[in-house]
């Protein structure tokens, strides 16, 4: 059946939104990312060949260190970032939030990439990665929150996100396949015969609705179980607590929304899509971020007050280290970034005027704060206030860990950059779908 999507008159060498157009700045970006990634791969090969001793991680207690360090911090951070992307995409579909539709695709891509990076961050943390992966599928215990984290997050959530991204992109893939280009085979493969008939549209609406409905509880469960990895450990002061799971979900939303804002600004600039990603999109994201920030600040205050009120000795050691000791600069630095971001958001709401530069700065600030807060959740409870009579420990990431983590960021940037050179960053408008090329 010939429809508007596979219009026979479709002919053009230029694909929409700069797809397939390998500009000099883009090549420079890819080269830079490859260099950083290459160094990260080198550092990881060094770690594999020399053993985990080249990292800053040591056994808790007997070796006075931390066995979960920067890598686990980044696992929690990356999986957190993935939360907001798919949540926003699912909410857009469920509630037909038309204003936000232009950001749906890169929100989905952000989720997929962040989950891949989270999975890789787990693998680099393992001295014997292959053994770890095999044994996970062989012996994992569903009673453990790790099971929920790995089976639901990595398998279920990543797969569900890929399905959502794939199905929601079929219409645009069919449009892109009309253009003669080197990527035509890829777009045809993705479209898989889609021709935009009313039946297909209705079927697609139904599928994405049910998918979105299934994904949202999966998201909450997956991120809560990640919080339970820490929150259920009675023997580790600072971790055991009811607020861990909800606080994980909320901070995940904060860091993810910050990332979406930054990515939206980059796409808006790179594609020249000021008319598609209007300021009201940023206003939505800014308000949403502000609410989550206040919820998180509330959780943080409640946690702090509980920690300071009639604290047991081991908890006091930990709170001293956080509030006035070794980790104080990171704790207060993260708090300051979160508070300043919240104040700037409130200011813009009260003014009724949103500034792009402020929002991007806030997006970056809340992500730096999120990494800081994740680090403070993971590390201090291992180095300070152990229940056994060990001396206070310490942990500093080595150059290997920093390089591998930078390599992961470069890989993420590269994946996003490559994807948007092969596929439109913004969903094509109805006019683009219907028009001749």
């Amino acid at each position: 059946m010939t429809t508007e999507v596979d219009h026979p008159s479709a002919r053009s060498d230029r694909l929409p939104q700069g797809v397939g157009d390998l500009t000099t700045p883009w090549k420079a970006f890819v080269l830079g990312a490859l260099v950083v990634l290459g160094f990260g791969v080198f550092a990881y090969i060094w770690e594999l060949s020399q053993g985990m001793v080249v990292t800053g991680m040591r056994n808790v207690g007997s070796m006075g260190g931390a066995s979960w360090g920067l890598y686990i911090t980044m696992v929690v951070y990356f999986i957190g970032v993935s939360f907001a992307g798919m949540t926003v995409a699912a909410l857009i579909r469920l509630f037909n939030l038309n204003d936000l539709k232009p950001i749906a695709r890169f929100a989905e891509v952000l989720t997929v990439v962040a989950l891949l990076l989270g999975a890789l961050a787990i693998i680099v943390d393992l001295g014997q990665p292959l053994r770890g992966i095999i044994n996970l599928f062989r012996y994992a215990r569903p009673q453990s929150p790790f099971f929920g984290t790995f089976s639901l997050v990595i398998a279920g959530y990543l797969f569900a996100s890929l399905v959502f991204l794939y199905l929601s992109g079929r219409r645009d893939a069919a449009v892109m396949a009309r253009y003669p280009s080197r990527l035509q085979w890829f777009h045809r493969l993705w479209a898989a015969g889609y021709s935009h008939t009313p039946e297909e549209q209705a079927r697609h609406r139904r599928t994405t609705f049910w998918l979105a409905l299934a994904i949202i509880p999966l998201l909450i469960i997956a991120h809560s179980t990640l919080g339970f990895v820490f929150g259920l450990q009675v023997g580790r002061p600072g971790w055991y607590g009811t607020l861990q799971a909800p606080a994980f979900v909320v901070l995940a939303g904060v860091s993810g929304l910050g990332n979406i804002i930054v990515l939206a600004a980059i796409v808006r600039w790179a594609v020249g899509a000021g008319d598609r990603i209007e300021m009201k999109v940023f206003s939505w994201l800014g308000r949403f971020l502000m609410i989550l920030l206040f919820v998180y600040l509330y959780f943080m205050t409640v946690e702090l007050l509980t920690l300071l009120y009639a604290t047991p000795e081991v908890e006091k050691q930990l709170s001293d280290a956080l509030l006035g000791g070794r980790y104080a600069w990171l704790y207060w630095g993260s708090v300051a970034l979160l508070v300043i971001s919240a104040v700037l958001l409130v200011w813009q709401v009260l003014q009724g005027r949103w500034r792009m530069s402020w929002l991007v700065a806030i997006g970056i600030a809340v992500n730096l704060a999120a990494i800081g807060k994740r680090y403070l959740i993971v590390v201090p409870s291992q180095t300070h206030g152990t229940l056994l009579p060990y001396e206070t420990g310490s942990y500093s990431p080595s150059w290997v860990e920093y390089s591998v983590v930078l390599g992961l960021f470069a890989l993420g940037a590269l994946l996003v950059g490559l994807f948007f050179k092969a596929f439109p960053a913004l969903p094509l408008s109805e006019e683009e779908v219907m028009s001749d090329v």
């Binding site: 599928f137 062989r138 012996y139 994992a140 089976s151 279920g156 794939y166 039946e199």
Partner: protein
């Protein structure tokens, strides 16, 4: 078999795999720590497979070519 029937079958099959995988990985009622391993190797993988099958049903639902009997089934 119609599109809806295949999709439903995949969802139910996925759920069945998840349930079997879950209870085989978590041996409820085991009285000794020695019996706390999954009842068979790679039982947790069965759970993951169930999740993947259930979500794959969405792709099958959209991609399966339309047949005349599907049209009559209120698609």
């Amino acid at each position: 078999m119609s599109r809806k029937a295949i999709t439903l079958l995949m969802i139910l099959g996925g759920l069945a795999f998840m349930i079997i995988g879950y209870f085989s990985s978590a041996p409820w009622g085991a009285e000794s720590v020695r019996n706390s391993n999954p009842r068979f190797d790679f039982a947790p993988a069965l759970f993951v497979l169930g999740v993947i099958i259930a979500f794959s049903s969405a792709v099958v639902y959209e991609l399966l070519p339309t047949r005349e009997e599907d049209d009559g089934a209120g698609e």
